[in-house]
């Protein structure tokens, strides 16, 4: 069973039943799931969670669907590693990496889609849909396949082959939409209104976004039931950024951790930085942008939770990094070379922002800091292909190897 109580508007606090709805009819504010925390407190314990499955469903008491009938392809409970080498390189004494590259479809989207698809099925939907440039499309296609549901996935017409195959292998109806970013976006908003399907990030968005809370739950549990001092999180729609904090606060409300005083900092690519720009200008009114960055998984020019991200930055004393494409590639390489983790471009944004915010003094060396790496590098190989050393090519002789290897050593890059 679920302890979800209702949907409530974040702006005017009007309440609605637990239906497929993402905005308030009166003020157009976003609605989010509320829970019966008194009931949760009576049943939940650290031990109960620790006895649960090694997936996000160990936090079933805090999720808006029945875990016993959930669509479970093993999302969540990913490693939290102490990043000593990267910490040393950046001058941070207690740095951790939350490695969400190892989810079933290699990104954190499996968390949100696991919850959205499960709730969609409970609400009677038999079709899942989304509009995506990669990660979300992969995850919706995989979850629909596992659940025996139909998937209809809309993608821009010029998406890279790897990302297309990463969805089509699961057998969805894949629709390439011709047009620029704005046109694709507007068409998909209309489609979501016209078809009675479960668009995971539109009409079932309140449930979808609850999946992101599980990153907050996991980090606290993996740190020995305590909240970090500082989190650095990539910001696309802003939902992940906001919900990680909600997860930490819910653990506190349930009596499982002390009150979190976590500073929440964001990470954006300069080529799509509506939140970072507003934060730098000291305004709560972000201006939508047309994305132009290699970090396509963060390329949301008009973020649904942009305002709430700015509120959270202010409330927690966080900061927001803004990094160039060159810094993103350098961030990907730095993470790989220090910690052995190959992240996608969004991970490069996070690591480059972590570096930037540390150098600017926003992150203190003694803070227990967690950087969230949300997707795997094999999804965006094009971004780094030209920035890496080419392999040595030799004849099948010792002499040929010695010559090539010594030349590489002489360059100082072996």
């Amino acid at each position: 069973m679920s302890y979800a109580k209702n949907l409530r508007c974040r702006e005017c606090h009007r309440e609605y039943p637990l239906e497929a709805r993402h905005v308030c009819d009166f003020c157009f504010g976003p609605v989010e799931v509320t829970y019966d925390y008194d009931a949760i407190r009576k049943v939940v314990t650290r031990e109960r969670i620790e006895r649960g499955p090694a997936s996000l469903w160990r936090y079933r008491d805090f999720l808006p669907c029945d875990a016993d009938s959930a669509i479970d392809i093993g999302a969540g409970f990913t490693p939290l590693i102490e990043a000593k080498n990267l910490g040393k390189a950046l001058g941070l004494k207690k740095l951790y990496i939350k490695n969400d590259t190892v989810n079933p479809t290699w990104s954190f989207k499996d968390r949100v889609v696991a919850v959205a698809s499960s709730r969609a099925r409970e609400l009677g939907y038999d079709k899942l849909a989304c509009a995506s440039t990669g990660n979300l499309a992969n995850s919706v296609s995989a979850h629909a396949a596992a659940a025996g549901m139909e998937a209809v996935v809309f993608i821009p017409h010029d998406l890279e082959l790897g990302k297309v195959l990463g969805s089509s292998i699961y057998g969805p109806t894949l629709v390439k939409v011709r047009g620029n970013y704005d046109a694709v976006n507007r068409l998909c908003a209309e489609l979501a209104g016209a078809y009675n399907w479960a668009f995971v990030n539109v009409n079932v968005r309140p449930y979808y976004s609850e999946g992101s809370k599980t990153l907050g739950f996991e980090v606290a549990e993996q740190l020995g039931w305590r909240a970090p001092d500082h989190c650095v999180v990539p910001i696309a729609s802003g939902s992940l950024f906001v919900k990680i904090r909600k997860g930490l606060q819910e653990l506190w409300k349930a009596g499982l951790i002390d009150e979190p005083k976590t500073r929440m900092s964001g990470a954006q690519a300069t080529g799509c930085s509506p939140v970072a720009t507003a934060w730098q200008e000291g305004t709560m009114n972000f201006r939508p942008q047309r994305p132009n960055t290699i970090a396509k998984s963060l390329a949301i020019g008009n973020p649904a939770d942009g305002y709430y991200s700015l509120v959270q930055l202010k409330e927690t004393g966080g900061a927001c990094g803004s990094v160039t494409d060159e810094e993103i590639v350098a961030g990907m390489k730095l993470l790989a070379e220090t910690e052995g983790i190959f992240a996608e471009t969004a991970g490069g944004v996070t690591i480059a922002s972590l570096k930037q915010l540390t150098e600017q003094g926003h992150i203190h060396p003694d803070e227990l800091t967690v950087a969230f790496i949300t997707g795997a590098g094999f999804k965006t190989v094009e971004a780094v292909a030209e920035a890496l050393n080419p392999p040595l090519e030799i004849d099948a002789t010792m002499e040929s190897f010695d010559a090539a290897y010594n030349a590489r050593v002489a360059q100082g890059v072996a």
Binding site: N135, F199, S237
Partner: protein
């Protein structure tokens, strides 16, 4: 008749222009301001546009030609 919810974002050079008034006169579209925040440098307005679907699209194209950015109310639908 159809109703479309959109978010208009105005650049600084259009803040003083009566764009919504003119849109309602140039096109057979009923405009209904539901939320707004406008200051001296920038501004946004959440609007409901009611009318024939083609006429609504023409009115949106007209606003865009004048430099208004038009987005879905709920933020971007396309995600990473």
């Amino acid at each position: 008749m159809a109703v479309k919810r959109v978010r208009f974002t105005f650049p600084e050079n259009l803040i003083r222009e009566p764009i919504i008034y003119r849109l309602g006169h140039e096109f057979r579209v009923i405009t209904n301001v539901r939320m707004a925040d406008v200051d001296e440098k920038t501004g946004w307005v959440v609007l409901e546009l009611e009318g024939d679907p083609d006429e609504i699209e023409r009115s949106i194209a007209w606003a865009q030609e004048r430099g208004v950015r038009v987005d879905p109310v709920t933020g971007d639908v396309v995600e990473g």
